[in-house]
């Protein structure tokens, strides 16, 4: 929005800059998006071309050495001669008026102009193109003022006139970000009103551009019928339609320069007078208009929903299949002319020969337009406005403004017949408790302040009608504020009062909850797990949970493995990774690979996060209403439709886990580090776990995979070395090790308070046994048998040595255990201890075939 336009509608303080206006608008809740223009300093003057010496350079480029009369400026002052300028454009002739920037000037973007030598001669400035001075985007040649402004306007110009003022280049243009509830701010009318509010809404300080004399509908206009047979949510697709006809427009007439300039400043391209007028009025008052070539229309305009199979080629030359939800403007109810509120069709487009124009100003249902816009992926200036709500009070005024402009600048004549079908309903008043804003905002607003602000906003406030009393008034919002018309507008009015009164007056009061139970057990447990792994030397990372479908094959998962059942993203960022992970490891390996690729050789990582386990195809989640709380059954159905998302942790390591140093060589991470990682976590949570080998759990090495369970057999997870094939498929180094476990299982298992076992203070008795076992026997089984055989007095058992080699039978291992015995009530005798030991050994022999050495 150019400040000059704003200043036509509301009073700008003397010298207010774009930044000042932006700050004022921010104070009433309109965010500044960008500020441009106003960054050009002269001299920039009108010049008349006196001489042109045409040359073609060696590179084929035409170059003109020009002499330009720039009045009492430049070389005229310093050397007593006309300005000599070298120019690369050829779209002008001797005698033309052009725009000349002289040495010392600075163009937008900080481009400083000085006299310089180019193509062999001194060039004392530059003849400007539109884009060089921030006037437009045109760079097809330099500006010829007769063409830009018209011969009439140009006739009054003298060489040396200030071109900055002439072209409005000092005008700053402010872009604001309009939130979805403020559709009326997508117009200079709305923004000016907000600016006026920001200045305290001074009396007489706002001149509504939509207040114009408008003839009433009179039946003589172009026939229009509204025939919406399928309103969405009970709202008719169109509740107001104004049609006006202007005949005899001279198609040769250009759009006036000032209008072109404003359109350009607002980011729109001038096209033709009829189209430019509709756009200009839209920018001014926020009402999208459409201009039809009257000659292409055969009968009445009928507004209806689309029929199956209908198509329309829109102005952007795309043939669009229409859907029954689309609201159409049709010719006689048959031929579609436009998708209402979104885009017109090519067939009724205003063309270079159009002389009779039908101007449509209508009010369309926001939902209808939003759906069509989304379905056809067509966001237009019109759809943006209709979606957010257009003021149904300006329909006729907007049409009138357009008619007036077409008459004035196109030489047309308006038809006396005016069509104005108005099905809009009057809005009912809301009984507002005037203390409500204070209660919601926390600032004390006296009644008069509340009423005053609402009136400034354009609300009708009745203080004496039925239902009003010393605490209540009846408020009817203005037509441009559909957002204030919901079923509970008190907070909206509170926001308006707070906004206009100033948010800066809201104090800061720290809320004081009455009780808090701290973190839950699960939340604490999760931190403990993360901290334990970090303390054990693993670095926490967070990977994207998007994985390739091939990951299941890379892992070597069996066909019926539940980890193959993954949720698929319908619109993935990368088609190569459409699935959500079912294990943390499947995405953590990406991070490992990235670290290795960056030259880290020894990497130990972990991640804690959710995985997605749908267990099958997704069930459709219900979409209950929002008018009240869904019933219990609906809620349960809703919750149940959301797939299982257990929280899991994965650990992975490659390379050395202990570094080489003065103490000796380093130690490569192996399967046992992974078992230890899980055991560390379990120990931190005081959860006893069991470890057994699992020869059949991809992606682990069948001979180096531990299955870790709770003592009741519940699976916690797996740990060990990864399968060589999986490592090859995943492009990871050999011997990479990993663990993955279910945090929810460990959390649940650690929830109950630890119950302390009593312990003896009598002296311990230690005894060692060495057992020879066959290679296939698991140490854990031997230990379990020893424990079982040793009896109650066994306090501790430690496997302190494992030997395999020449001194014993081939394919056997010697396991050396230290047993610690202690009785609760006495010092044990040697005979007793020996007895326990022998019983333990006997149990191990029985269970595992172990032989004492």
């Amino acid at each position: 929005m150019p400040l000059s336009w704003l200043a036509e509608i509301t009073d700008l303080p003397q010298g207010a800059s774009g930044a000042d206006v932006a700050a004022s608008l921010v104070s009433v809740g309109l965010e500044e998006e960008d500020l441009h223009g106003g960054d050009l300093t002269g001299p920039l003057v009108v010049g008349r071309v006196l001489e042109v010496e045409e040359t073609v350079q060696k590179n084929g480029k035409p170059i003109r050495y020009c002499v330009v009369d720039v009045g009492h400026h430049g070389q005229q002052v310093t050397e007593g001669k006309h300005q000599e300028i070298v120019c690369g454009a050829t779209n002008f002739a001797v005698g033309d008026l052009v725009v000349v920037v002289l040495p010392g000037a600075v163009l937008p973007g900080g481009f400083a102009i000085s006299a310089r030598k180019t193509y062999g001669r001194m060039s004392n400035g530059m003849i400007c193109a539109e884009d060089e001075i921030g006037l437009g985007h045109d760079h097809d040649g330099i500006i010829v003022l007769e063409r830009l402004l018209g011969d009439k306007a140009a006739a009054d110009l003298q060489p040396g006139d200030d071109a900055i003022a002439l072209l409005g280049l000092a005008d700053e243009t402010l872009e604001t970000n309009v939130t979805p509830d403020r559709g009326y701010c997508l117009s200079v009318r709305g923004l000016a009103r907000e600016y006026w509010h920001s200045q305290g809404s001074p009396a007489g300080g706002y001149r509504d551009p939509a207040v114009v004399e408008v003839p009433a509908g009179n039946g003589g206009g172009h026939p229009v019928r509204l025939e919406d047979e399928a309103p969405i949510a009970g709202n008719a697709g169109c509740d107001r339609f104004v049609a006006r006809v202007v005949r005899g427009i001279d198609p040769g007439r250009p759009t006036p320069a000032w209008m072109q300039k404003r359109l350009t400043q607002m980011g729109m391209r001038p096209i033709s007078l009829a189209v430019d007028v509709t756009n200009y009025v839209m920018l001014a008052v926020g009402q999208p208009l459409h201009a039809y070539d009257l000659a292409t229309l055969d009968g009445p305009i009928v507004v209806r929903r689309a029929r199956p199979g209908e198509t329309l080629t829109t102005l952007d030359d795309v043939a669009r299949k229409l859907r029954p939800d689309d609201l159409l403007i049709t010719d006689s109810g048959e031929r579609p002319l436009a998708i209402a509120g979104v885009m017109g069709g090519a067939s009724s487009e205003v063309g270079p020969a159009t002389s009779d124009v039908l101007v449509e100003a209508a009010h369309f249902d926001p939902t209808t337009v939003a759906r069509s816009s989304r379905r056809h992926r067509l966001v237009t200036e019109a759809s943006k406005r209709f979606e957010r709500g257009v003021d149904p009070g300006v329909t006729a005024a907007a049409a009138q403004l357009a008619v007036d402009l077409l008459v004035e600048h196109g030489g047309g004549t308006p038809d006396p017949g005016v069509t104005d079908i108005d099905h809009t309903t009057t809005r009912s008043a809301y009984r507002l408790d005037v203390t409500e804003p204070s209660r919601i905002v926390g600032v004390d607003y006296p009644r008069d302040r509340v009423v005053g602000i609402l009136r400034d906003l354009g609300c009708v406030v009745e203080e004496s009608g039925e239902g009003s009393d010393d605490r209540h008034v009846l408020v009817t919002p203005p037509s441009w504020r559909p957002d204030l018309d919901n079923d509970s507008p008190a907070p909206d009015y509170a926001e308006e009062v707070a906004r206009i009164d100033g948010y800066h007056r809201i104090p800061s009061v720290t809320p004081t909850p009455s009780e808090g139970r701290g973190l839950t057990h699960g939340q604490k447990a999760r931190r403990l797990v993360a901290d334990s792994l970090a303390a054990a030397g693993y670095t926490e990372v967070l990977s994207y949970p998007f994985v390739a479908a091939e990951i299941a094959d890379h892992f070597g998962l069996p066909a019926d493995d539940e980890r193959r059942l993954a949720v698929r993203v319908a619109n993935p960022l990368s088609e190569e990774r459409p699935l959500l992970r079912t294990t943390v490891l499947s995405s953590l390996v990406d991070v490992l690979r990235r670290n290795l690729a960056r030259g880290h050789k020894d990497v130990a990582l972990y991640e804690v996060g959710l995985v997605f386990r749908p267990g099958g195809p997704l069930e459709r989640a219900p979409i209950p209403g929002v008018a009240s709380r869904p019933d219990r059954a609906s809620l349960e159905q809703l919750y149940a439709a959301v797939p299982d998302q257990p929280r899991r942790a994965a650990v992975v390591a490659s390379g050395q886990i202990e570094q080489a140093g003065w103490w000796g060589p380093g130690r490569t991470a192996d399967w046992s580090d992974m078992v230890a990682a899980v055991q560390t976590v379990a120990a931190a949570l005081a959860v006893p776990v069991l470890v057994e080998s699992d020869a059949d759990h991809a992606p682990w090495h069948p001979g180096r995979c531990a299955r870790i369970t709770l003592t009741d057999g519940t699976l916690v997870g797996h740990a060990g070395e990864l399968h060589p094939k999986a490592l090859a498929a995943l492009e990871l180094p050999a011997r990479t090790v990993a663990a993955e476990f279910d945090l929810d299982v460990l959390t649940a298992a650690s929830e109950a308070p630890v119950q302390v076992r009593p312990f003896s203070t009598y002296p311990p008795a230690l005894t060692d046994v060495a057992l020879l076992v066959a290679g296939a026997v698991a140490a854990a089984d031997v230990e379990a048998a020893l424990r079982a055989g040793a009896g109650e007095a066994l306090e501790r058992i430690v496997l302190f040595d494992v030997y395999e080699g020449e001194r014993i039978e081939p394919d056997h291992r010697s396991l050396a255990y230290r047993l610690t015995f202690r009785a609760p009530d006495r010092t044990l005798t040697t005979e007793e201890v020996n007895g326990f030991r022998d019983a333990a050994v006997a149990a191990a022999a029985e269970a595992t075939g172990a032989v004492q050495r």
């Binding site: 965010e31 989304r374 800061s508 808090g516 973190l519 926490e540 990977s543 989640a621 570094q659």
Partner: protein, 369 residues
């Protein structure tokens, strides 16, 4: 050396001559003093205190003296031996101390060599930042709520007053799940956690909800398809926008230090009514307007203020959808992107560092930060 006297014949024994005793003592003392280490002292001890030392011999001669002379000679020799004994003890402890000292010196090592055999691990700073905020709110009596990342569309949108046709729903770039009409999405915000809490819990509610959220943005310096939010929700009797501002002030002080404070202005968010946009005083330049100057603050871009994000009073429609009577209870909600907080507080340059998982990033933060 003469033999012990075996009779009462008063023979002058030269060893007992006072001059000789004094000379022997002086010799011995000199030798003790000259001993440079414990071995040396041992040799000296044998020579001057041993059985064959002059003073030992002199002592033995005493028995041969007539009874009248015994006392005097005994006293003289005894004193000399006593002095010598003390000198030995003193020298012994000096030399022992010297030896102990020397051992410690000899055992010196270079403690500057690397000591960590296992490289320390680290927590991810996003998790740490979330914890920091969570802990502060828990300390004020709030509780932590969590929910699924794959969420029902109703909980992510509809219940938050983002109906199917709401323009704000278009602002969101949502990951939909296959099939697209499944009614399930990857949550675009942590707000569905608030809805779940309000649906299942009676007010008063004071919750802080940290978590992962998803939007279909490609990774670049300022965007990532997976990021983290933390949102706070309070529902109680009598809560106003002033309480909201108070909570926001607490929030920014926790995150950016005690000297910062908020500045608020109007804005629009569908979930809240009235809504509020919050900036906070730059914790680096403390609000100095440095824009366009050589000292332009890099943290706030020179404006002196940093945008925090949207907030507001929970929309009455949302309360009703959750079964909470908006005539009895009111509440507020606000949130922040954790990545952004991390960028601001720790000078992280872009999203890449936070999402790539390069160990050099997390390791700078240790387990606390």
């Amino acid at each position: 050396m003469s033999a012990p006297n075996s009779n009462y014949d008063p023979v002058e024994v030269s060893a007992l001559d006072p001059a000789n005793v004094d000379a022997a003592l002086a010799d011995a003392l000199a030798a003790v003093a000259g001993a440079t280490d414990l071995d040396d002292l041992k040799t000296v001890r044998i020579a001057h205190q041993g059985d064959k030392s002059p003073l030992a011999l002199a002592n033995r001669e005493i028995g041969a003296l007539p009874p009248t002379a015994k006392a005097e000679a005994g006293k003289r020799v005894g004193q000399a031996r006593g002095k010598l004994g003390q000198a030995f003890a003193a020298r012994q402890s000096v030399l022992e101390a010297e030896r102990d000292e020397r051992i410690l010196v000899d055992e010196r090592v270079d403690v500057s060599v690397p000591a960590l055999r296992r490289r320390p691990g680290a927590r991810h700073p996003i998790e740490l930042t979330a914890q920091r905020l969570v802990d502060a709110f828990v300390g004020m009596g709030w509780e932590v709520a969590e929910g699924p990342e794959l969420e029902s569309e109703w909980l992510n949108f509809d219940a938050l007053n983002l109906g199917p046709d709401h323009p704000a729903r278009q602002m969101q770039d949502t990951f939909f799940l296959d099939p697209v009409d499944s009614g399930l999405v990857l949550r675009t915000q942590t707000s569905p956690v608030q809805i779940r809490t309000m649906l299942e819990q009676e007010p008063p509610i004071y919750i802080v909800a940290p978590g992962k959220v998803y939007r279909t943005d490609d990774l670049d310096a300022t965007h990532t398809p997976v990021f983290h939010q933390i949102e706070c929700l309070a529902i109680d009797k009598g809560l106003t926008m002033a309480h909201l501002r108070g909570a926001l002030d607490a929030f920014v002080r926790i995150m950016f230090g005690p000297d910062t404070r908020t500045r608020v202005r109007a804005n629009y968010f569908p979930f809240t009514e009235p809504s509020m946009e919050t900036d906070f005083l730059c914790f680096v330049c403390h609000g100095a307007e440095t824009w366009g100057t050589a000292e332009q603050c890099r943290t706030c871009g020179g404006s002196g203020w940093i945008e925090l994000g949207g907030s507001g009073m929970v929309n009455r429609k949302v309360l009703r959808t959750c079964g909470i009577d908006p005539d009895v209870y009111s509440g507020f909600a606000f949130g922040l992107g954790i990545e952004r907080a991390l960028m601001l507080r720790h000078g992280v340059q872009g999203m890449h560092e936070m999402v790539e998982g390069d160990i050099r990033f997390s390791q700078q933060f240790g387990m606390g930060a």
